[in-house]
Structure formats: C-alpha cells, structure tokens
Amino acid sequence: MKKSMYAAYVSKKAARSSLFRDCLLAFLIGGGICCLGQFLFTWIYQFSADDRMASGFTSIALIFLSCLFTGIGWYDKLASYAGAGTLVPITGFANAMSSPAIDNTAEGMVMGLGAKIFVICGPVILYGCVFSVILGLIAYLLRIFGIDITGVV
C-alpha cells in the first residue's frame, strides 16, 4: 500500500516536470516557426503589398521548407524535441504529408506514395472541408431569413 502510494507520488511528480519541459519546448519552437512565418510575411509583403497574397505565399514557403527538411531528416529530429511545437504550425501539416510519402515509395507511386500520402492529412482535409461546407450552408440558410453572417470573417 505504502509502496504503491509512493509509486503514484513519483509518477505524478515525474509527469508534471516533463509536462512543463514539453510545454516549454513546444512554446519556443512553435512560436519560433510562427515568428519565421511573420518574417517571411513581412518580406513577401514588400513585393505584393497584398495581405492575402503575402499570407498565401508565406504558407507555401513554410510548406516548402517543411518538406525539404523532412526529406533530409532534420524536421523529425526537431519534432522529437518540439512535440506539438512542430505539429501545430502549417509545417506540421506538410510534415504529416511528406513523411508518409518518403516512407512508402517502395510500394509504388500509386498505391504506395499516392495513397499513403493522405494517411494523416486525409482526415484533416476531409473534416476541415465538411465543416466549412456545413458553415457555408448555415450562412446560406441564415441569409434566406435575412441574417447575414458572411461579414464576420
């Protein structure tokens, strides 16, 4: 009884300190990737002077960098420290697509790379799109009844 209580106490303490360390690393690296995005955005904005265009090219640039670093193996090394810090930014989405692409080339270009590329991103795209269509339908119905919510974004 005493021993099991001690074990529970130890695991509680251990979990807490590692949670703090995980969160700190996720904060620093995730924040760093967003900061890099802000840097790219500010730079690209000088050429386009268009918020949406600069934002789109920032995403594309981050996705390119993520796929490149996944290919040479650096992104997964960073992810082993960063946890959610490399998962949540759009670079994590690109990593979740390029990683299975790289790992499954031996099974062929169609059922290997082609199918497995969506093994993690497929649900993200599926539920994201379905949610957006539902939102669009709600907005459409509300508009019929005279309530316009299309301006909130």
């Binding site: 979990a15 590692s18 949670l19 995980d22 969160c23 996720a26 690296i29 995730g30 924040g31 760093g32 967003c34 900061c35 995005g37 802000q38 934002s55 789109g56 995403s59 594309i60 996705i63 390119f64 993520s66 796929c67 040479i72 960063a82 959610a84 810090g85 998962l87 949540v88 930014p89 759009i90 994590g92 989405f93 690109a94 979740a96 697509m97 390029s98 790289i102 080339t105 790379l113 590329i117 993690i120 991103c121 649900p123 993200v124 539920y127 994201g128 799109c129 949610f131 957006s132 269509v133 939102l135 669009g136 339908l137 709600i138 907005a139 459409y140 919510i149 299309t150 301006g151 974004v153």
Partner: protein, 119 residues
C-alpha cells in the same frame, strides 16, 4: 512588436496542443483534425478574425488558421455565389496550402525515397 505577438500567440497554441497530447489519449492526427475544425468554428462565429488581426502569423500559421481560411472561403463563397459558394468556397480558399503540400511532398518522396530497412 508584431514578431513578439506572433511568437507568443503561436507558441501558446502549441502549448495547448502539447497539454492535450500529454494529458489525454489524443494522437497527433486527432490534434491536427481538431485544430482545423476548431479554426472553422471560431472563424464562423467571428472570433478568429480579431485574433488574426492581433497576432498576425501567430494566428495564421498554426492549423487553426488553416481552418479559419476554410471558414472565410465558405462564407465569402456564400456572399458572392450563394449556395454553390458554400460548397466551393472553403476548399478553394485552402487549395494553395493543400496543393503546395501535395506537390512538395510528392517531390520529397521522389528525391528522398525511404530506405527499405525503414519499411
């Protein structure tokens, strides 16, 4: 200043996901899906727009920003095209990121094919 805001806001969104990973049984794929769906919902109720205005890339780079993009596309689609826009708007707005990820991932798979011992 905008760099600091992007750093802190983006970092905090990552910390929330890290706590969810450590404290619950949610896998990374579920976190990604949940973040995108949360972005769509928060975008639809108008909360995320003010967050984007405040945090810049700290709001648009995390996957909730991707969800916000889907929501914005769907609502602007409804505004401009009516019912058809509800179906086409979301994916069209997010297509840049998705197509870039598909192209660069395919190239990564071709240029850096996995070693057979990893399979």
């Amino acid at each position: 200043m905008e760099f600091l805001k992007a750093f802190i806001c983006g970092g905090l969104l990552c910390v929330i996901a890290q706590i969810l990973i450590d404290k619950t049984a949610l896998t990374p794929a579920r976190i990604l899906t949940a973040y995108v769906c949360a972005g769509v919902v928060l975008g639809g109720i108008g909360v995320y727009k003010s967050f984007v205005d405040f945090a810049g890339c700290g709001a648009t780079v995390p996957l909730t920003g991707f969800g916000y993009l889907l929501a914005r596309g769907a609502l602007e689609g409804v505004r401009d095209q009516g019912l058809l826009g509800a179906f086409t708007g979301g994916l069209a707005a997010a297509s840049g990121g998705i197509c870039a990820a598909m192209l660069f991932s395919l190239l990564a798979g071709i240029i850096f094919p996995g070693k057979p011992e990893n399979l």
